[in-house]
């Protein structure tokens, strides 16, 4: 039988170490809503989402109550809208009506984000894909909860540089369109390479076309729990360090598995995957950078950070894999700057730069995440940064992503406040040497060779 120490350990994780289940995300296919009439399409989308997900928030609250484990977010991901709206939408404005429908469906069911305002253009763009991409600034400016993601490359197809170039402009336009809110729109826009079909985390979640009609995906969190566990093994060997992370990741993930299974039973929707990600929050002690410090680095960004992150990411997976029957999504440590107090401190202290963050993304999910840059940064420069990050994903057969926020009217030395889980961020300097002639070339970067790995 369970003993008092085990009970106390579990409850302490929640009460003192910020342990929570970060999100229950229902993936919903909208392929059966496709219609050539825009009004009918919007009506079908609204009806399907509000029917399938009507009990999501209620069930989430029941699970929180039964186990006294916080479930921070209840969310929805849908089929990439470029596919769903292709037959009905003849202009970017037509696509914006779908964004508004998604937003109102999200409000009706009481969730806080809906992802899938997306296009998958890793090799080429259809007319609909391009219309959707061009509608993003307006869509994100005129909705509250819609999240957008564009997959512009993959290991199998290479990188669509036409899409990369376009996305540099779109990120900039989105920043302009939401400048009264400190360019918040860009916090809801991700550019991916090798985007997973079953990611429960925003802003990059969408419901892939290879998925079932509806599915439950769960993302757990718990950097604070890992950090506290590591406090007990200060100065010990790497073996002890790794074992401790693994065991902790196992325990955390088991709760995710329980929540996913219970939600699946109560909602009558099949269980998809657990995403084994250590997702930080701005709360004190809930920081991935805090784990690095506990491992022995003065600040995130110090030499050794990439190795520490590689170790952390791998051990979290090793511990988590056995704890769950299905693992998927992004699965790794997240290193968003604005959502992690330790990362913010490291940037302010000058320990962490954009270039070091880029190196770190080679060994972890996900990418350059929630990084505020000067609003005057050129679209071509943003495209160049995107291209670099996509190349890391393409060559290393992993997911990478870029979520940069060029904050209009702000520059290095200033900070920007997004609020809530999105946190706040110091504006980081960007390398201003030109890459214009490179990103302005047409076409795509071919798929990489899969042998002769060096």
């Amino acid at each position: 039988m369970i003993n008092i120490f085990e009970v106390n350990e579990t409850n302490k994780m929640v009460e003192k170490e910020n342990f929570d289940v970060r999100t229950i995300t229902i993936g919903i296919s909208l392929l059966d809503c496709i219609d050539s009439d825009l009004d009918r399409l919007n009506e079908k989308i609204y009806n399907k989402i509000t029917t399938v997900a009507k009990d999501l928030v209620k069930v989430g609250k029941e699970i929180e109550r039964d186990y006294l484990i916080p479930i921070v977010n209840k969310r929805i991901s849908v089929t990439p809208i470029a596919l769903v709206g292709g037959a009905a939408c003849k202009s970017p404005e037509d696509f914006v009506t779908i964004a508004k429908t998604l937003d109102s469906a999200a409000k009706t069911v009481g969730i806080n984000f809906i992802g899938g305002y997306s296009a998958l253009v890793s090799k080429g763009m259809t007319a609909a894909d391009e219309l959707l991409i061009r509608s993003i600034p307006q869509a994100l400016a005129s909705t509250d909860f819609v999240c957008s993601s564009i997959n512009v490359g993959s290991t199998k197809t290479g990188i669509n540089m036409d899409a990369v170039r376009l996305m540099g402009q779109i990120v900039k336009e989105t920043a302009e369109a939401t400048k009264e809110k400190d360019s918040l729109g860009c916090a809801k826009l991700v550019v991916f390479c090798n985007a997973p079909d079953d990611n429960p985390f925003m802003a990059g979640a969408f419901h892939g076309v290879t998925e079932a009609d509806a599915i439950i995906n769960v993302g757990v969190s718990g950097p604070g729990v890992v950090k506290t566990a590591l406090e007990q093994v200060r100065g010990e060997s790497f073996e002890v360090l790794c074992e401790t992370i693994k065991k902790t990741a196992f325990k955390i993930t088991r709760v995710g598995q329980l929540v996913a299974k219970t939600a699946s039973e109560k909602l009558g929707i099949p269980f998809g995957i657990i995403d084994l990600s250590l997702a930080p929050t701005p709360a004190i002690g809930d920081s991935v950078a805090g784990i690095f410090e506990e491992m022995g680095l003065e600040r995130a960004g110090a030499p050794g950070t990439t190795a520490a992150l590689a170790l952390l990411n791998d051990q979290v997976k090793k511990g988590g894999i056995m704890a769950s029957s299905y693992v998927g999504g992004l699965s790794g440590a997240f290193i968003p700057v604005s959502e992690d107090q330790g990362m913010i401190d490291a940037v302010v202290d000058g320990a962490l730069t954009l270039e070091k963050l880029e190196a770190m993304t080679c060994v972890c999910s996900v990418g350059l995440d929630m990084i505020a840059i000067p609003g005057r940064t050129k679209a071509e420069t943003i495209s160049g940064i995107i291209a670099d990050e996509m190349a890391i994903g393409m060559i290393n057969q992993k997911t990478t992503a870029v979520r940069l926020i060029p904050v209009i009217g702000k520059d290095v030395g200033e900070t920007v406040e997004f609020g809530g889980l999105l946190g706040y961020a110091p504006i980081m300097p960007v390398n201003e040497f030109s890459c214009d002639d490179f990103v302005n070339r047409q076409g795509r970067i071919p798929a990489p060779i899969h042998s002769f790995k060096n």
């Binding site: 039988m1 369970i2 003993n3 008092i4 085990e6 009970v7 106390n8 350990e9 579990t10 409850n11 109550r65 039964d66 186990y67 006294l68 484990i69 325990k251 088991r254 709760v255 598995q257 329980l258």
Partner: protein, 93 residues
């Protein structure tokens, strides 16, 4: 109907006379059977855990939780009631 109905009740707070009595009286009144009790005092703080069987009780789980919390407030301790699976999942393979 709930399929598995065991819960863990934890009581943490300043030690006073009659904490266990009060909780157990409430449980008995609601046909909740106590399967196991363990208790320690950690630096002056009373720390108790009970494993209980809810099968014979017709009180809905959320009401049980609320009323136990209220009893806790009356005697100045923190009482939690959680379904057992979360602990089984985390600590047993």
């Amino acid at each position: 109907m709930e399929t598995k109905s065991r819960a863990i009740i934890t009581v943490v707070g300043k030690d006073t006379v009659g904490i266990i009595a009060k909780v157990c009286t409430y449980l008995a009144k609601n046909h909740v059977n106590v399967l196991d009790i363990s208790q320690t005092i950690v630096s002056g703080f009373f720390n108790m855990m009970m494993i209980v069987d809810l099968n014979a009780s017709d009180k809905p789980f959320d009401e049980l939780q609320k009323e136990l919390t209220q009893i806790g407030e009356e005697i100045g301790v923190d009482i939690k009631c959680q379904k057992e699976e979360i602990f089984e999942m985390m600590h047993r393979i």
